[in-house]
């Protein structure tokens, strides 16, 4: 779900392959693997109930809540681990945890 306006910082630089001989790593998504596969439940946002308070966005440990320009939010399901913090903190119960199929 990484698009132009997802706010993820992307820095391109050439390490000339030295990471193969020296213990260097480069920034990238999924450094812990396919963390979406960890999910037992997934958060689902009812956009009608969302008041754009940004609490879910502020508290997401994994940067998997995408904040749009108008402060509405969406879940990055590619990496969301389903921890449930967003659902627990949402003041209007706009986010519910649904069992992952």
């Amino acid at each position: 779900m990484a698009d132009e306006k997802d706010n993820y910082v992307k820095i391109e630089f050439d390490t000339k392959g030295i990471e193969l001989s020296m213990p260097i790593s480069k920034p990238d998504f999924g450094s812990g693997g396919k963390t979406n596969e960890w999910r037992i439940e997934r958060p689902v946002i009812d956009q009608d109930k969302c008041i754009k308070c940004l609490l879910c966005w502020a508290f997401c440990p994994d940067s998997t809540i995408i904040r749009h320009d108008n402060d509405s939010v969406d879940i990055n399901y590619d990496y969301c681990k389903g921890c449930g913090i967003c659902a627990n903190e949402c003041p209007t119960k706009a986010i519910t945890m649904k069992e992952e199929v």
Binding site: F13, T15, I18, L20, S21, P23, I24, S25, K26
Partner: protein, 384 residues
């Protein structure tokens, strides 16, 4: 070219002054103290504009050096004995993180019981740390090698830290004449450090995170390759330095070893006494020579075998001890000879621990004893 009479400690400090590292982080420990004190004086007198971080321990010294070198700084530290042991995990880290830096080790006995006197065990047991290790014979060589060390370390195909060993008290606290090339010549030789990688905003690398079993060994292999590259680089830098100094050392110092049948292998300052003994024996008609192992890591197998060609009896005299097996160096020498299909008689001698002197008389006795070809390590001058 300037010549000064100075201690080994000052020789190293002067070399640091010429090399102009950006960061120095060190903790005092006898007999290294004069090195860091001299450097502090240079900085206070504005003769050197390095930043000297007065760290809280040796582990912090090496950790600070790691941070500095990873940021692209030219880096220096110095320690000895227990300081080296205390920083040991970070010593390993620095080499395996491929961080250029130079560390002077004033060799000294390890406790218990306490002894501040000279011995090589502290230096020798770092032989698997990944550091390039060079041990010098005198203060002139200490200066020359310390300067070269920065260049060797920072070389693109090496990128390994260099450990310079100099005998505690024997060299650190003894004055000898040392001649130093012009600052401009040294500047030209060393240049400014050009990092292969560094922590900065344009290249936001992560250094040293977890790596899986599928990739770890290959990274280790690359360090191994870099160590091999170092043999060539050490020889090349030696040649370049010879142009500005008139002095060249090589990986191995051969003293009358070309036609020698009786060879004494030594490391460090004591080699001088071995050379005196070998001269005496030559007068008696014994074809004696001394092979001083200057570069310990990378182990200079080829240069060593070349120097030992024709040797019949070899005495490996070491000021160190690996409890449970004995003389570390003798085992490495025997191993190199075995691989080459050579079978001269090799005997290991454990000598000079805890600061006990080894005299030319001792070396003479040793070389003659080896001719009896009784295998097994022997302890020199033990009073039981």
């Amino acid at each position: 070219m300037a010549t000064e009479v100075m201690t080994g400690s000052r020789s190293v400090a002067m070399a640091v002054k010429y090399a102009k590292p950006d960061i120095i982080a060190a903790y005092p420990i006898t007999p290294q103290t004069e090195i860091v004190e001299d450097i502090s004086t240079f900085i206070a007198n504005k003769e050197l504009s390095s930043k000297f971080i007065k760290v809280d321990s040796e582990h912090s010294a090496m950790s600070a050096c790691i941070g500095a070198s990873a940021s692209g700084a030219r880096t220096f530290t110095a320690t000895s004995s227990h300081g080296l042991m205390y920083m040991a995990e970070a010593v390993y880290w620095a080499a395996h993180a491929r961080l250029p830096m130079v560390m002077a080790v004033a060799t000294r006995s390890l406790a218990a019981p306490w002894s501040i006197l000279n011995e090589h065990t502290d230096f020798m047991i770092q032989h698997s740390s990944g550091w390039i290790q060079i041990m010098v014979e005198d203060n002139q060589e200490a200066f020359d090698t310390a300067v070269q060390a920065f260049r060797i370390s920072e070389e693109e195909h090496v990128q390994l830290p260099v450990m310079l060993g100099l005998d505690g008290f024997i060299l650190t606290h003894t004055s000898m004449p040392v001649s130093m090339p012009d600052a401009a010549e040294i500047d030209r030789l060393l240049g400014k450090r050009k990092s292969v990688f560094s922590l900065d905003q344009e290249t936001p690398i992560t250094l040293g995170n977890v790596i899986g079993a599928e990739h770890f060994m290959e990274h280790r292999y690359r360090i191994f390759e870099a160590m091999n590259n170092a043999k060539r680089v050490i020889a090349d830098v030696d040649k370049e330095y010879a142009k500005i100094s008139g002095r060249s050392y090589g990986l191995v110092d051969c003293y009358n070893c070309e036609d020698a049948e009786e060879v004494i292998i030594t490391m460090g300052a004591s080699s001088g006494d071995a050379k005196v003994a070998s001269d005496r024996m030559r007068k008696e008609g014994i074809k004696c020579g001394v092979v001083r192992l200057r570069v310990m890591r990378p182990f200079p197998k080829e240069a060593l075998l070349e120097a030992l060609r024709g040797a019949k009896h070899i005495s490996v005299v070491e000021r160190a001890l690996s409890v449970g097996i004995g003389n570390i160096l003798a085992h490495e020498i025997k191993s190199a000879l075995y691989d080459a299909g050579e079978r001269p008689f090799v005997k290991g001698y454990i000598a000079g621990l805890g600061g006990r002197d080894i005299t030319p008389d001792d070396y003479e006795k040793i070389a003659k004893s080896t001719m009896n070809m009784q295998s097994g390590d022997e302890w020199v001058n033990l009073k039981l």
